[in-house]
Symmetry: C2
Subunit: 455 residues, 2 copies
């Protein structure tokens, strides 16, 4: 196959992110996340490598399922402390020209109008290089900390659908393209006839006002989603332009991607209206041997309690509890692969936990691929072909070394094979991804929120 | 008097801000607010002039009282369009070393935990150069747009008090100073015994969790407040470190400042624990004549409907309505000086409106001072002495020309008189302002949220 792959770096405004315990590695600099220079240098490195984007994860809340407390997460720096992801984007955008930024924001904590404004502001400031990973929240601790009661899973998607409808109204329907006149002579800044109130009275939100921002380059940011439940996939099939999938099994991923594209067609969109990115951690170097040696080095730093705390938070299953299997069987909403590891087992013992930690250690719910440039390029291509993927979100083991290795070794080989671009396309993030216009196409539900021509 | 004055630039992430219609001036660049370079250049200019800070106003909502619609505000660019203020701060902080940023955020639209995290993130990223202007909202349109019903004035301050209590818990009480160990050898990132849950069950919020961020340089950002009602002043006397006052009357300002300092003492604080900044628009140049000529030039661009739309939004009184006086008399919550202009009048006619527009044209509710460096330095000193002020928030008529003129002409004269610093003090914003420690002093209510020593 010759489909060009898309590559995002996958990170979070915290220590370590996916690879639990690797912050202890002597070369890991992820604990510098608090400093602007950390992110500016990462952005420059990624742009040097022609990465399409930086995908920023986020959680509002802590991993407090393991052992029934936050202690392990704090001790091991399991995504806590964690700073706000949006505030580092302006710096990174200013230091680059083409790199895009897909940022996770949990809509449960956002008021519709201020959130629409935040995204429009970033779209203006980045010249249209912003994406939003739509999240409805999976940590109870986030809701408790934020002062809300966590809604049930399906209700969260109802809330999300209503929230999206308001966002589309503000982003697509409130200001006509030619609303801003900015005529110093006539004194007209905006033509009031071309700015429209968005009125919405729904079950969860009531809104009545105009968007506060002029039309930005993309209007709606590029929309990411990562739902793997049936409700989540239906939501993604309708709204998402990019979908983020994970898990170590090619077979399951292939089936999920096929189902997602079917659902997109059922929702009136084309199968390729959605780009699918798979999570992967790659450990590479100039040769297979060098990569393998690096991997062996990294593995020494994996934190077993850190991995278990992360997976307990993801799945809602306390892996410190010997009765966890019974709990796992009951938890139908267990996510990622934490639960699948167990679902056909009768007993969880230390050996099984060890295996899980081994599998998940660097990967954080995705696959870990180890090898020199040729082996890795072939592996990524094989995954992409078999699972019908458009690209990868590449997590790091050691920051920024993992990304340096990718830029120095893997990307040149992908480029040599015609699997990766040698330079950026011009335009906004959406234009770069789809080669089409900067704004969402007519088959996307957001299009129906636009004013009729001349309206 | 030899008290050193503090100077903030006063701006907003929008077109024109306070001086309605001045965006039409050929040299005004405020309509470039969408572009990062606009703010980066402003920050560098302000730091060159040793400005203490940039005070960023914000409104979530539109001015739709005038004529019962948003049309005039849109046509005249009366603080709409307006982008998010927080997102420009990282860029400006990165371009400077000492300039501080006091940002207006309306707590009505914020969930406690994500907001605490936003501020802590900025405090980290700016090395402690962040302040927060606490606002509870005065535009009904903001609440409607955000999907909430606007609470009554006094209730808003009850909500604010509860919100502050949660923020103090997160900022001051959740992580001990030595909680972060970051020991690669022992594998301990944070000591769980030194990270504390904040549990709050109140009338408006329920919170139970740890703060997501490590202790930042100032922990609590420098707190600004601008309430002028009796409830607002009581709130400021308790919480604020800096208070922003406005209005064209020295006599009223003097009384307000005296009352505020009395209230601070009643709240167990020292009178000088609060720094008071007055709003002023200054038009200056190398000489009185040059300044006057500039003022005459600027005045031609004042937009009468723009001024009336702004003041209608502020006061809740529709100044397009001939019966406005009756309404004004009834509105006890009318704010700023819009209402005071009328309260002893029996009739509002065009001449009176003209006078109001004339008075308010460049000043946006404050005073406009015109003159060369010597005249202006004397005037500012006289205001400060008579009203017991610590400094000024200086609004612009033309962006960035107003600030260029201040840096080139006014500041050197203030420095010559010993009224303004010649260089920055080291440290965080709080250290620069008060010459004390980076964290809030013991007399501030936030101090009671700290853990007991060793706790």
């Amino acid at each position: 196959m010759t489909r060009e792959l898309r590559l995002n770096a996958f990170a979070m405004n915290c220590v370590g992110h996916q690879a639990q315990g690797l912050w202890r590695h002597p070369r890991d600099e992820s604990a510098n996340y608090k400093h602007p220079s950390h992110w500016i240098e990462l952005a420059r490195l990624l742009e040097k490598g022609k990465f399409d984007g930086l995908f920023l994860a986020d959680v509002v809340g802590v991993y407090d399922v393991y052992g029934g407390s936050v202690d392990t997460a704090l001790r091991e720096a399991v995504q806590v402390p964690a700073n706000d992801p949006l505030l580092i984007v302006p710096l990174m955008a200013q230091a680059t020209s083409n790199l895009a930024f897909a940022v996770t924001c949990n809509l449960s904590h956002e008021a519709p109008l201020p959130f629409a404004r935040r995204m429009s502001t970033l779209d203006h400031m980045t010249d249209g290089r912003i994406g939003w990973n739509i999240v409805t929240g999976y940590l109870d601790s986030g809701s408790k900390g934020a002062g809300q009661k966590q809604a049930a899973h399906d209700v969260r998607y109802d809330i999300a659908a209503e929230f999206m409808s308001i966002q589309y109204g503000f982003w697509e329907g409130s200001w006509d393209d030619d609303a801003v006149v900015r005529d110093r002579e006539t004194g007209v800044f905006a033509d009031p006839a071309k700015v429209h109130r968005i009125s919405h009275e729904g079950e969860y939100f009531r809104v009545d006002g105009v968007h506060l921002c002029e039309p930005s380059p993309q209007r709606t940011p590029v929309l990411y989603q990562a739902g793997t439940s049936s409700t989540g996939m239906a939501f993604a099939a309708k709204h998402a332009e990019c979908v983020f999938v994970g898990g170590p099994s090619r077979k399951k991923m292939k089936a999920d991607v096929a189902r997602l594209r079917e659902l997109a067609v059922e929702a009136g969109r084309a199968p390729n209206d959605i780009l699918v990115f798979a999570l992967a951690t790659v450990v590479t170097g100039p040769t297979d041997e060098a990569a393998q040696a690096k991997f062996e080095d990294y593995k020494q730093y994996v934190s077993r309690p850190g991995v278990l705390a992360l997976m307990s938070g993801w799945s809602g299953i306390d892996f410190s509890n010997p009765d966890l299997l019974a709990a796992a069987a009951q938890k139908s909403n267990a996510i990622h692969s934490a639960s699948t590891t167990f679902k056909n087992k009768e007993q969880a013992d230390d050996a099984l936990l060890d295996k899980m930690v081994h599998n998940m250690g660097l990967a954080g719910g995705g696959v870990t691929l180890v090898g020199g440039p040729e082996r890795l390029a072939s592996e990524l291509e094989a995954w992409a072909t078999e699972c019908d993927l458009d690209g990868f979100n590449l997590a790091y083991a050691v920051m920024p070394e993992t990304f340096e290795d990718i830029v120095d070794h893997l990307i040149p080989e992908l480029q040599r094979r015609g699997l990766f671009k040698k330079d950026y396309q011009s335009g906004t993030y959406r234009e770069k991804l789809f080669g089409k216009e900067p704004r969402l196409g007519e088959s996307h539900p957001a299009a129906s929120y636009r004013q009729p021509m001349g309206g």
